[in-house]
Symmetry: C3
C-alpha cells in the first residue's frame, strides 16, 4: 500500500470507481510531467449525489460535500491514469471549481474548500494548489459542483 | 498536403479563416511543447453563427453545431500558430467548453461532444482529450458556445 | 529596480499587497517553467472594489476597472512567487477572465481587455497572451470580475 493510499485509508476516505466518459474524450491526459484531469462531478455509485443550486435548493454544507466528492473522483481518475500508484503525484498544481448558483451568491470559496481540504488531507503539502472558484448557472446533469485539476506527476 | 489536412478534406471539413483578436491578446501562445489556444466562438465567415441559450432559444442540435464550429476555429488557430503544419499536433490535451444556458439545463456534455467529435475525426486517437463542460449565463457576442484548448505540439 | 518594476512605476501602477488565501490553497504554484496563479478578485486594500453584475448594476467601464485590479493582483502574486523579481516573467501565457453578468450580456471581451491591457503595459510583447472571456452568474464575494493566469517563468 502506497503512502497516499495509506493516508486515504487513515482518513476513512474511499475512492469511487473512476467513471468512464461515454464520448470522444478521456478522464485524463498526460503531457510531459503534467496530468490534466477532466472536470469531475459529485458522483457516488455512478449517480450525481448533489443536484441543484448551492445557496438556493442546497445549503453551503451540501455544496462542500459535493466538492469533496468531486475531489475524490479526481483522485480516482489520477490513480487510474497513473497505473494505480498515487505516490507518483508530485504536486496538485491547480483546481478549478465551478459552483452551480444563482445571481447574488458569493460563497464559492467556502464550497470549493471542500475539494481543497481533501487534496491536502490526501497529499499533504504537495496537495496545496493554485485555485479558481467561480459560478455557473448550471452544470452537467444538474450537478451542484464540478471540479477539474492539473497535477504534476513523476 | 499533410496527414491531418487530408483527414480534414476527407471528412469534408473546411477550416475557417483564423480570426485575429482586436485587442492585447493573441489567438495562441506556445510555451515549451504546449500550445494554449484562446477561447473560440462559433464563428462562420467572421460572424457568430449561433447566438442565444442552448436548451432555450436554441436546440441541443444547434448547440452541437455551434461546438463543432468552435472546434474548427480552434484547429484553424492551431494551424496558423504552427506555420500551417497541423501534423505538428501531437495531442489534444484539454478542451474547456462553456455553454450559454439558463438554470436547469443539464446537457452540456452532449453539446460539447460536438467539439470533441471533431477533434477525434481530425486527429484520430491523438484527438482524445481531457475535458470540462460547464454553463455560463452568457458568452461574448451572445455566442451559444465557447471552447478553449491546450495542445501538445512538436 | 527591475525593468518590469520600472515599467509599473512609469505607468503609475501600484501593485496591491498580495492577498493570502485563508484556506488549503495557495496563490501560485510553479511546475517546471509554468506558474499557475489562482483566480484573483478586484481587491483594493483587501476589499472587493467592484461588486455586482457588469452591464446591469455596473457599467462596462466599471467592469474594465475591475479587470485592471484583477490583473494588478495577479502581478502582485507573481512577484511574491518569484521572490520579488518580475523580470523572471518570460511570457504571460494565458488569462481566463470571468465576468459576473446576467443573460443577454455580450461584452465580456471589452471588460477583460482591462486585464489584457495591463499585461502588455507592464510586460510589453511578453505580456501578449492567449485568453478566454466568459460569463458567470456570480463570483466569490459578489465580485464583478475574476481573472486567473498561467505565466512562463525563468
Amino acid at each position: 500500500m502506497g503512502t497516499v493510499d495509506k493516508r486515504l485509508s487513515d482518513a476513512g476516505l474511499v475512492l469511487p470507481t473512476a467513471a468512464s466518459p461515454i464520448a470522444n474524450y478521456v478522464p485524463a491526459v498526460r503531457t510531459g510531467n503534467l496530468l490534466f484531469i477532466s472536470g469531475q462531478l459529485p458522483l457516488k455509485d455512478g449517480k450525481v449525489a448533489f443536484e441543484g443550486h448551492v445557496g438556493n435548493t442546497l445549503s453551503i454544507d451540501q455544496g462542500v460535500e459535493a466538492a469533496k466528492l468531486c475531489a475524490l473522483n479526481i483522485i480516482a481518475q489520477a490513480k487510474s491514469a497513473l497505473g494505480g500508484d498515487l505516490d507518483k503525484v508530485m504536486r496538485v498544481v491547480k483546481l478549478t471549481g465551478f459552483v452551480a448558483c444563482l445571481p447574488g451568491f458569493g460563497q464559492h470559496p467556502q464550497v470549493i474548500n471542500g475539494a481543497s481540504d481533501v487534496m491536502v488531507q490526501v497529499f499533504g503539502d504537495a496537495g496545496r494548489h493554485a485555485r479558481a472558484a467561480v459560478g455557473a448557472p448550471s452544470l452537467p446533469r444538474n450537478a451542484a459542483v464540478e471540479v477539474e485539476a492539473v497535477f504534476e506527476v513523476a
